[in-house]
Symmetry: C2
Subunit: 300 residues, 2 copies
Amino acid sequence: LRRHVVLYVGAEARGRAWARFVAEETGDLELRVWPEAGDLAEVAYLAAWIPPAGLFGKLPNLKAVFSVGAGVDQLDLAAIPAHLPLARMIEPGIEACLTAWVCMAVLALHRDLPAYVAQQRAEVWRALPVRPPAACRVGMLGTGRLGSAAAKALTGLGFPVRGWSRSSEVSFEAVVSASDVLVCLLPLTAQTRGILDARTFALLPRGAGVVNAGRGGHLVEADLRAALASGQVGAAVLDVTAEEPLPAGHAFWGHERIFLTPHVGAVTQTETGIAALVANVRRHLRGEALEGLVDRDRGY
Amino acid sequence: LRRHVVLYVGAEARGRAWARFVAEETGDLELRVWPEAGDLAEVAYLAAWIPPAGLFGKLPNLKAVFSVGAGVDQLDLAAIPAHLPLARMIEPGIEACLTAWVCMAVLALHRDLPAYVAQQRAEVWRALPVRPPAACRVGMLGTGRLGSAAAKALTGLGFPVRGWSRSSEVSFEAVVSASDVLVCLLPLTAQTRGILDARTFALLPRGAGVVNAGRGGHLVEADLRAALASGQVGAAVLDVTAEEPLPAGHAFWGHERIFLTPHVGAVTQTETGIAALVANVRRHLRGEALEGLVDRDRGY
């Protein structure tokens, strides 16, 4: 029986768990955890978060590359040989976790949780006006798998949701200007970098909420600070920042109208993630198209 | 045409809006806002949050009493003449708002938002373990209208939900001991007062979350503080407290593992609330049973 070697480059604990799963559940695959890579000429598949510089030049028999995350923007696409298919991770654990995080963020903004946490610190008991979810319009930037799943869950909670993506017929301006809460779940590309900027915030209804579960690069951080200071944006919930970890002394740390989580919205789950990776490797072995195949020109 | 007079005792802004609605939308009803009550002998219906002491003795022709809130525990039931039917407020605005608040609270505990807010204050960027909603069991104390609506929404978000009420076949111990997040949406009665106490917390899986959207009287506050200090309860989200507003200097104000909102979970909405009140008055005028009729022995 021929063994197909998958090299994993990423968080070590997950790598060890994945290697055990592959050893126990398959007879023909082997997963090696970087840097214990053995003979690099044996490596047929690479599953990576951020591979070390020059790695691709040392993998002469590589057949496909798999991101271990929902995006591929952490990868230097130019460094990956053009003939190799590249896939992002699509697995139900990411979708379920991100949907829950997005619902939490939208509900927290809808019910003024940042303001209540600030009031609690100041020992203030003051009710703010309550509107039902039906009166709180959500704009969803990004209508792919993750955006659609989040939009469906928010609709189920009673929020009117409108989606926008590059291929939408509805205009960006129309969606943003009718969003009491604006959610970014876009892939990060040259076209979407900096999309959450002063111009976009100016389109929002005054006091709207902003949620970024995309990438730090979507947000112009100085513009958000200015919009919060002016009251144009009421509050924000961010899972990603331009620099991660957020640098010491950054204004977002102490900001009362920002909730910050450390890039935990969409986390590839150990069990469902390895099952998805193995299934995608098998697709390649059978000569089928990869799930989540990336269009390198589009960037996602 | 005979005019039926409803006396309203509660927040004045809502009373004014309700009086306008009644004047414009009905020909046979009149809503007066306390203390501008006119001739008290004309009052046929009382819609009240907390009526002033002795009011019932001055209303000789009163035919029914309506709470303007989802509960009746704020009323002194012994002061209300026994022959008067008493109804709690059932209206879709309360249900939608409370469901959103409960989902926010459960999601915040599921995704460790209190811990992340504390980390943010301390400038700490540290990811905590993420489990999908399917691995976070919710126990719902209270399976009436509001509890059922919240349970349905949480189920839609992927949480496994088990409900418990006085009439459940499943035992309280079985539900609580299998609750990673325990939600209280019970009515406050002699049987449920203090139900969130040290004994209940000891049944929970270690580090579980606690949500109280019932009444402050359900929670033994000192027991929650002790359970948070020991780590038996991981964090809590409270919309109600024993004394409201929460007194200055109370330990809940500054507690990093408690999110506190000032009794805003279920707020009777102006538009849907008055429509429900008018519909219930009309039921009485037609000789039909009131919606939300309270069983005074049961207390809800």
